[in-house]
C-alpha cells in the first residue's frame, strides 16, 4: 500500500486525513495523482506533494510503503 496524507482543504475533498491506495501500477507521484483523480473525481491540479516528508516532483518515484502528502499552498506564519 501507499499512504496518502491530506491536509487543509484536501481533507475535505478526500473525506479524511489518510488514505491508503494500492501500489499496483504506481511508480511515480504522477501515478498517485492520476489514481486519485480518477478514483475520487478530485481536482488535484497544481497541488504540491511530498514523498516521505521531502517535497517531490511529479516524476519522483513512489513505492510500496511510501507516504505521499498532498500539500496545498501553505499559509503558516
Amino acid at each position: 500500500m501507499i499512504n496518502v496524507l491530506c491536509f487543509a482543504h484536501m481533507k475535505d475533498i478526500f473525506g479524511g486525513e489518510r488514505l491508503a491506495i494500492n501500489s499496483g501500477g504506481i511508480a511515480t507521484v504522477k501515478d498517485v495523482l492520476e489514481h486519485l483523480k480518477s478514483a475520487y473525481d478530485a481536482d488535484v491540479s497544481g497541488i504540491m506533494t511530498a514523498v516521505n516528508e521531502e517535497f517531490a516532483e511529479e516524476s519522483t518515484p513512489v513505492s510500496q510503503g511510501d507516504t505521499v502528502a498532498l500539500i496545498p499552498p501553505v499559509s503558516g506564519g
Binding site: 487543509a8 482543504h9 475535505d12 516528508e53 501553505v74 499559509s75 506564519g77
Partner: protein, 154 residues
C-alpha cells in the same frame, strides 16, 4: 536542550524563545511574533485554526535554520509555530534570532518568516461569523474565491 524548531498545540512563550538564542556572544535578539489579527480586508475573524504536517513542518523549520546559518554564520535562531484553535491576539508563530550585531538579527529574522510562508507545510483556516475558509496563499496573491476548490466546506 529543548527543540529549537518546533510545532506545538500549546501556547508559545516569547520568554522561552528568546532564552533559546540568548548567549554571551550575542548583543542583539530580534523576535517576531505573528499574532491573530481581528480584521483582514475588512472582514472580522472570530478565530483561526492552524493545521500542520507536524513532522515535515519541523524538518522544514530546521532546514530554514540551516539556511540562516549559511547566510549569517554568527546567527542563532529558534522558531515555534502553534497549531489548533487560536483566538484574536494569540501568537501563531514566534521567531527568535540572536547575532553579535543587530542588523543581521533583523535581516535573518525577516528571512525566516518569509521562508516559513513559502516552504513549511502549515495551513490556516479563517473562521468568520458567517463562514470559514482555508487560506490558500499566505503571500496573498491568490485566495480560493469560494471556499475549497472542488467542493468542501463552506
Amino acid at each position: 536542550m529543548e527543540k529549537r524548531f518546533f510545532v506545538t498545540s500549546e501556547p508559545l512563550s516569547v520568554e522561552e524563545l528568546a532564552a533559546e538564542v540568548t548567549r554571551p556572544e550575542a548583543g542583539a535578539v530580534v523576535q517576531f511574533i505573528g499574532t491573530v489579527r481581528e480584521f483582514t480586508k475588512g472582514r472580522r475573524t472570530v478565530y483561526l485554526e492552524y493545521e500542520a504536517y507536524h513532522s515535515m513542518a519541523e524538518k522544514q523549520l530546521e532546514a530554514i535554520g540551516r539556511e540562516v546559518k549559511e547566510r549569517w554564520p554568527d546567527a542563532e535562531s529558534a522558531v515555534g509555530h502553534r497549531t489548533g484553535e487560536l483566538q484574536i491576539s494569540d501568537a501563531a508563530v514566534i521567531i527568535a534570532v540572536s547575532t553579535p550585531h543587530r542588523k543581521d538579527a533583523y535581516e535573518a529574522n525577516e528571512y525566516i518568516i518569509e521562508r516559513i510562508k513559502q516552504i513549511v507545510p502549515i495551513w490556516k483556516k479563517e473562521h468568520w461569523e458567517d463562514g470559514e475558509q482555508w487560506v490558500g496563499d499566505q503571500l496573498e496573491q491568490t485566495r480560493y474565491p469560494d471556499g475549497a476548490p472542488g467542493g468542501g466546506n463552506k
